[in-house]
Amino acid sequence: MDFLRPASWEEALAAKAEHPTAVPIAGGTDVMVEINFDHRRPEYLLDLNRIGDLYEWEVGADSVRLGASVPYTRIMENLRGELPGLSLASHTVASPQIRNRGGVGGNLGTASPAGDAHPALLAAGAEVEAESVRGTRLIPIDEFYTGVKRNALAPDELIRAVHIKKADGPQQYSKVGTRNAMVIAVCAFGLALHPATRTVRTGIGSAAPTPVRAKAAEEFLNAALDEGGFWESGKIITPSVAKQFADLCAAACNPIDDVRGTASYRRHAVGIMARRTLTWTWESYRGTAAPTEGVA
């Protein structure tokens, strides 16, 4: 094994171009587990810790450009206002020690269906900034996950940053696990209201081969909210609408039975989380946007 220590992003890209099998390591919270347990013996480890740019973020007019290695702890501390869904998701990642090292770039690189950040990224709307010596491209988050632990990166590409839409409305994140800390999701759900475009977006984790959006559920809800004038009136969501939305979210799952849970449990739980997160976010939206009269 060779340990490559690029001092700059350009050096890292050159190293990845020269050694496409090199495994990037930043927080190490995925890679080191595989090495410690002898599940993986990469020819090259490409250490990204010395590249300071990857630990920075910029808040722009419409989006946050989040460096690939910004630890979850920093996201929770600094970006709660701009990225509420991702901040909530970050808080459910493992433990303080892991959140101090791990970041969204690693979650995307590993592309596990159980990665905690994915549902929040899908719900908020995001693009992955991938770069190689050939150039830079922005990969829409919907096209990024291509299979179980597979993503759209080319062998010579590295993730530099993620561009995440700033919240224009309430966002929520929900995760099912056996305990509060140090737990891999049995399943997870992210939901974001986008009042500016009058749309709702979702993200489902651990209930399909890849993280997915519940697109049919979104389309149904967007139409129902539009037709019923809910965005203008800020009235309470009709229970039958919430139920139909939850059922469609459950139907968007394609889960498996495994040690953490059965497929039918996951489908059921995703439906429950969909209804709850819709209720929580909608109540929050009503709290700020509802007319003052008649809100008891």
Binding site: F3, M32, N36, P42, N49, S95, P96, I98, N180
Partner: protein
């Protein structure tokens, strides 16, 4: 490969390090510092917690090569680290730190121990002893490092703060209540001292 880094305030050099080796392995097997415990090797248990440039991390998940030029504090250096922090805010003089030989022989013998061989303890270490928060002791080093770091930036933690800060440290003797007592005690003593 060779790795140069600072351990408990002293410059160290580790040779013949395998590229896939963890910081934990380097500390335990190459530097002879077994205070950081090796249990799960997957970041679940927190018993290998050390501070890397001041931040608590699981040393089993840090590749040795990643610590090149960086600063590590292990439980063996915690007493001196806490002392320097209390007296100077941090190590300012260069005379502080714990040598590897001192660290190898480091034992928690409190000043009031009946054997009379007193050792300087960090306040959190003394509090763990006084509160009876040590059972088998395997999780203790990680808990000490994590709790000390929390008290550094949050001197008056709520119970929820303590639980959150220690949520990455597992104790299988089920001794969490005493551990909570110990951290509350350390916080209270820290408050009195100011």
């Amino acid at each position: 490969m060779r790795v140069n880094f600072t351990v408990n305030g002293r410059r160290q050099e580790a040779d013949d390090v395998w590229e896939g080796e963890s910081l934990l392995y380097v500390l335990r097997e190459r530097m002879g510092l077994p205070g950081s415990k090796n249990a799960c090797e997957q970041g679940e248990c927190g018993s290998c917690t050390v501070r890397l440039d001041g931040i608590p991390v699981c040393s089993c998940l840090v590749a040795a090569g990643q610590v090149e030029g960086r600063e590590v504090v292990t439980v063996e250096g915690l007493a001196d680290y806490a002392k320097q922090r209390a007296e100077h805010g941090s190590c300012g003089t260069g005379a502080c730190g714990t040598s590897v030989d001192e660290a190898k022989g480091w034992q928690a013998k409190p000043l009031d121990s009946q054997t009379g061989e007193g050792t300087q303890l960090a306040p959190i270490q003394q509090a763990f002893i006084d509160a009876g928060a040590v059972q088998c002791g395997f999780c203790t080093p990680g808990l000490l490092v994590a709790a000390d770091e929390m008290l550094e930036h949050n001197p008056t933690p709520s119970d929820a703060d303590i639980r959150e800060a220690l949520s990455g440290n597992l104790c299988r003797c089920t001794g969490y209540e005493k551990i909570m007592d110990a951290v509350r005690l350390a916080a209270a003593r820290q408050g009195e001292a100011v």
